[in-house]
C-alpha cells in the first residue's frame, strides 16, 4: 500500500528540521532589530503598542520563514535522491545559512553605518569597474566558504554529523521562536478584536 507520509525524497522530520533551520536567521535578525526599536516605539505610543509591533514582526517573520522554506525545499529537490537524507539537509542548510549570512552582512553594513574608507573607494575606482570589483571581493570568500563546506559534507561523514549537530541545536532554539510566533499570532488576533469592541 502506498504511503503519503513522505514528500519526494524527504521525511516529515527532515522537512521540519529544514524549516527550523530556515526560520532561525530570519527570527534572530527580526529580534535584534525589534529590540533596537522597542524604546522609541514605546515612546511613540505605549508599551502595549510596542508589544503589538513585536507580535506583528513575529507573524511576518513566520510567514517569511514559510515562503523561504518552500523555495529552499524546491531547491532541495534538485539533489540526487541517492544521497542520504541527512547529507542533503546538511547541504541545503549550509547553502541557506551562507545566503542568510550575506543578507545579514548587507544590512549590517547600513545598520552599523560603516561607510567605505576613502582608500577602499579609491582602490575600487582605480579598477575601472568598481561595482564588478566589489562583487568579486564580496562573493569570492563566500564562494570559497561554500565550496569548502560542501566538499567536506560530501566527502566526510564526520563533517555531515558535525553540521547536523549544529543544526539540531539551532533547531531547538528556533522551536522557542516558533512558540513566540504563536503567542504573537494570539496577540495580533486579540488586538484586532479588542479594537472592534472598543
Amino acid at each position: 500500500m502506498a504511503t503519503y507520509d513522505k514528500f519526494p525524497g524527504y521525511s516529515k522530520q527532515a522537512m521540519w528540521s529544514l524549516f527550523l533551520i530556515v526560520a532561525f536567521p530570519i527570527h534572530v535578525w527580526a529580534f535584534i532589530l525589534y529590540f533596537r526599536d522597542i524604546t522609541w516605539i514605546t515612546e511613540r505610543t505605549n508599551y502595549w503598542n510596542a508589544i503589538g509591533v513585536g507580535a506583528y514582526a513575529l507573524l511576518f517573520a513566520l510567514l517569511e520563514s514559510i515562503v523561504v522554506f518552500m523555495i529552499v525545499f524546491l531547491f532541495g529537490l534538485l539533489f540526487p535522491k541517492r544521497w542520504p537524507e541527512e547529507k542533503r539537509i546538511a547541504l541545503l542548510g549550509i547553502f541557506y545559512m551562507l545566503i542568510a549570512l550575506m543578507a545579514i552582512t548587507g544590512q549590517l553594513y547600513f545598520l552599523l553605518g560603516a561607510p567605505f574608507q576613502e582608500m577602499t573607494t579609491r582602490l575600487l575606482a582605480a579598477t575601472g569597474h568598481p561595482v564588478r570589483a566589489l562583487y568579486v571581493i564580496t562573493l569570492t570568500p563566500i564562494a570559497l566558504l561554500a565550496m569548502v563546506s560542501v566538499y567536506m559534507v560530501i566527502k566526510s561523514p564526520k563533517a555531515t554529523q558535525f553540521v547536523k549537530k549544529i543544526f539540531e541545536r539551532l533547531s531547538l532554539l528556533t522551536s522557542i521562536y516558533i512558540v513566540f510566533d504563536i503567542i504573537g499570532i494570539f496577540i495580533v488576533i486579540f488586538r484586532n478584536i479588542q479594537n472592534i469592541l472598543k
Binding site: 535578525w29 514582526a57 517573520a61 544590512q107 545598520l111 484586532n192
Partner: protein, 509 residues
C-alpha cells in the same frame, strides 16, 4: 381624470427625454438642485500639516501660495485661526466634533474619539446632505471609520494610494497604526538600508521600485508617501474629487483630507528647488525646552522643501477651484480650505506633534469661499477649528448642539465676536485617554495675548511648570516671553487655564 397622451405629445416628450440624456451629469445635477440656503453643498478640503505661518496669504515672505492669494479675493480669510491640537489625531477630531481634546478624548496617537461622538460630529448633524469623505491620512481615517454610519460616501485609504497595502488594510483594519508600523520596520529598507525581514524586504524594495519608476520622474525627491509604501499623488486625488463632486447627488457634505504638505516634502518637479536660492533666512529663535536639537541649517533646508511642497498644494487647489468655478459649482457650494495643525522649523523643533505650542504649529489657515461672494473679507478675531461645526449648523438654520464648544464664525455669527473669548489649544498626547491631564501643554489666546502652559513633562523636572506669555499682536514671531515682566496678565490667564483644567479633569478624577 388622467389625461391620455396623444401621438404628437408622446413624440415631443420622447425627443425631450433623449435630449435630457445628452446633458452632462454635472449640469443635470445642478439643475435638479434648487438654489437656496438649505440645499447648498459643503466641501471641506483639509491639507494636512499646513501652517498659516508659511503661507503667503498670511504675509510669509515667500510666495508659497500665489493662486490662493488671488482666489482669496472672493473669500473670507481668517487670520488668527487655531488648531485644536498639534497633530492629526487631536486636530482633526476637534474640527470634526467641534470640541477640544479634553472633551473628545482623541489625543493619544491614532485614538478614536470618546464613544458618544459617533453621534456628535459634522456628518451626523447634517443628515439631509449626501455625506462623503476620504483621507490619505490613517490617523484621520480612524475617525472616518468611527463615524462611518453617517458617511454613506466613505472611501477607504487605499482608494487613492498608488500602491495601497491592501493586504494590511484588509487583514488588520482594526489595528492599522501598529500593523503599518510593524510592516514598515519589516519591509522598509529604502532609507536606512535595513529591515526586520532578511529576504522579502529585498524583493519588496525591487517591486516598489519597479512599480513607481515611471512616475518617479515627476517627483525629484521621490513620490509622496505615508507609512512606507502607501504612495500617492495629489493630482490623482484632485481628479478623483472633481469626478465625485460632479457625479453625486446634491446637496452634499464632503470632507477631504489630503496629506500634502505633510512630510516627506516630496514636491512635484515644477515646484522643485523654487526657493532653494532665494536667500530667505528666517529669524533665528532661541531653542525651546522641548527642542529636538535640530540645527538651524537643517531646519532651513527642511523649510525650503516644505515651502516648495506648499506650492504643489497651491497648484492643485487652484485646479480644483477653477474646475468648480467653471461648472458653476461654487455658486451653490460652501468651499472651506483649512488644515488640522501646523508645522515647525524653529527653536530646534522640527515638524509637529511637539509639546511646544508656538504659532507655526498651532496657527492654521481657514479660508471660506462663500457662494456668490465677490470680495475679500479678513477676520482678525481669534477663531478655532472647533468653530467650523457650529458654523455649518448656523448656515443650515439648525441650532448649535449643546455639546459643541465652538462658536459661529464671524462674519456669519448674528452676534459680534467676543474679543475676550477664551480660545484654547490642547496637547495632552501622553495622558491616559480617560485620566485627568497630568502632563500636557495648554494654550490660551485672549485678546492680544497668548499664554502657553506646560506641566508634567520630564524636561521640566527640577524646573517646575513652564509658562510663556506672548503679545501675538505686537510680537507675532514670539521672540519675547512677557511672563516675567507682565506677571499680572500672565497669572490672570494662567488662572483661567487652571480653572478650566479643574473643570475638564473633574469627570476623570
Amino acid at each position: 381624470m388622467k389625461k391620455q397622451l396623444n401621438r404628437r405629445e408622446f413624440l415631443k416628450m420622447a425627443g425631450l427625454f433623449s435630449l435630457s440624456l445628452s446633458i452632462p451629469q454635472p449640469l443635470s445635477t445642478s439643475i435638479l438642485s434648487t438654489p437656496g440656503d438649505t440645499v447648498k453643498n459643503i466641501l471641506i478640503v483639509v491639507f494636512d500639516a499646513l501652517s498659516a505661518y508659511n503661507m503667503s496669504l498670511y504675509g510669509y515672505p515667500r510666495k508659497t501660495m500665489p493662486n490662493l492669494d488671488r482666489l482669496a479675493r472672493r473669500a473670507v480669510v481668517y487670520n488668527n485661526h487655531f488648531a485644536g491640537g498639534t497633530y492629526t489625531t487631536p486636530g482633526a477630531a476637534s474640527l470634526l466634533t467641534g470640541t477640544l481634546p479634553w472633551t473628545h478624548r482623541a489625543f493619544n496617537l491614532n485614538e478614536t474619539t470618546e464613544k458618544s461622538f459617533v453621534q456628535k460630529n459634522i456628518f451626523h448633524i447634517l443628515p439631509n446632505h449626501y455625506r462623503m469623505a476620504y483621507t490619505h491620512n490613517p490617523l484621520a481615517d480612524t475617525f472616518l471609520r468611527q463615524f462611518q454610519k453617517d458617511i454613506p460616501g466613505y472611501f477607504p485609504l487605499e482608494k487613492l494610494y498608488l500602491i495601497g497595502n491592501r493586504f494590511l488594510n484588509f487583514f488588520f483594519l482594526n489595528d492599522p497604526d501598529t500593523a503599518h508600523l510593524a510592516w514598515s520596520r519589516m519591509m522598509k529598507k529604502k532609507e536606512e538600508g535595513h529591515a526586520y525581514s532578511l529576504f522579502l524586504s529585498f524583493l519588496y524594495d525591487k517591486y516598489i521600485k519597479y512599480k513607481t519608476e515611471r512616475i518617479q520622474a515627476d517627483f525629484p525627491r521621490g513620490l509622496p508617501f505615508i507609512n512606507v509604501d502607501n504612495y500617492y499623488k495629489l493630482e490623482d486625488a484632485i481628479d478623483w474629487l472633481e469626478n465625485r463632486i460632479t457625479n453625486i447627488q446634491q446637496p452634499f457634505l464632503g470632507y477631504f483630507h489630503f496629506l500634502p504638505p505633510h512630510r516627506p516634502y516630496n514636491t512635484r518637479k515644477d515646484c522643485y528647488r523654487k526657493f532653494a536660492m532665494d536667500n530667505y533666512r528666517p529669524d533665528k529663535k532661541p531653542e525651546h525646552i522641548f527642542t529636538m536639537h535640530k540645527s538651524q541649517y537643517y531646519l532651513n533646508i527642511q523649510r525650503n522643501q516644505y515651502d516648495e511642497y506648499i506650492l504643489y498644494v497651491d497648484e492643485e487647489f487652484n485646479r480644483l477651484y477653477e474646475y468648480m468655478d467653471k461648472l458653476g459649482l461654487l455658486e451653490n457650494t460652501w468651499l472651506i480650505f483649512t488644515s488640522d495643525h501646523g508645522e515647525m522649523f524653529e527653536r530646534g523643533i522640527f515638524q509637529h506633534g511637539t509639546p511646544a505650542l508656538h504659532q507655526p504649529v498651532v496657527r492654521i489657515p481657514l479660508v471660506i469661499f462663500e457662494p456668490g461672494r465677490t470680495t475679500r473679507e479678513d477676520i482678525y478675531a481669534p477663531t478655532s477649528a472647533i468653530d467650523v461645526l457650529p458654523t455649518l449648523t448656523h448656515w443650515f438654520n439648525q441650532p448649535i448642539p449643546a455639546w459643541c464648544e465652538g462658536s459661529v464664525l464671524p462674519p456669519y455669527s448674528p452676534i459680534k465676536p467676543n474679543p475676550n473669548r477664551d480660545l484654547f489649544t490642547v496637547e495632552p498626547r501622553y495622558n491616559g485617554k480617560y485620566s485627568p491631564f497630568e502632563l500636557a501643554s495648554v494654550m490660551l489666546v485672549k485678546d492680544q495675548y497668548k499664554l502657553s502652559y506646560y506641566y508634567g513633562y520630564k524636561e521640566l523636572k527640577g524646573i517646575g511648570d513652564l509658562i510663556e506669555l506672548y503679545d501675538i499682536q505686537n510680537d507675532p514671531e514670539e521672540m519675547i516671553n512677557l511672563y516675567p515682566s507682565k506677571k499680572d496678565i500672565g497669572d490672570e490667564l494662567l488662572n483661567i487655564v487652571k480653572a478650566k483644567l479643574v473643570e475638564v479633569n473633574a469627570p476623570y478624577a
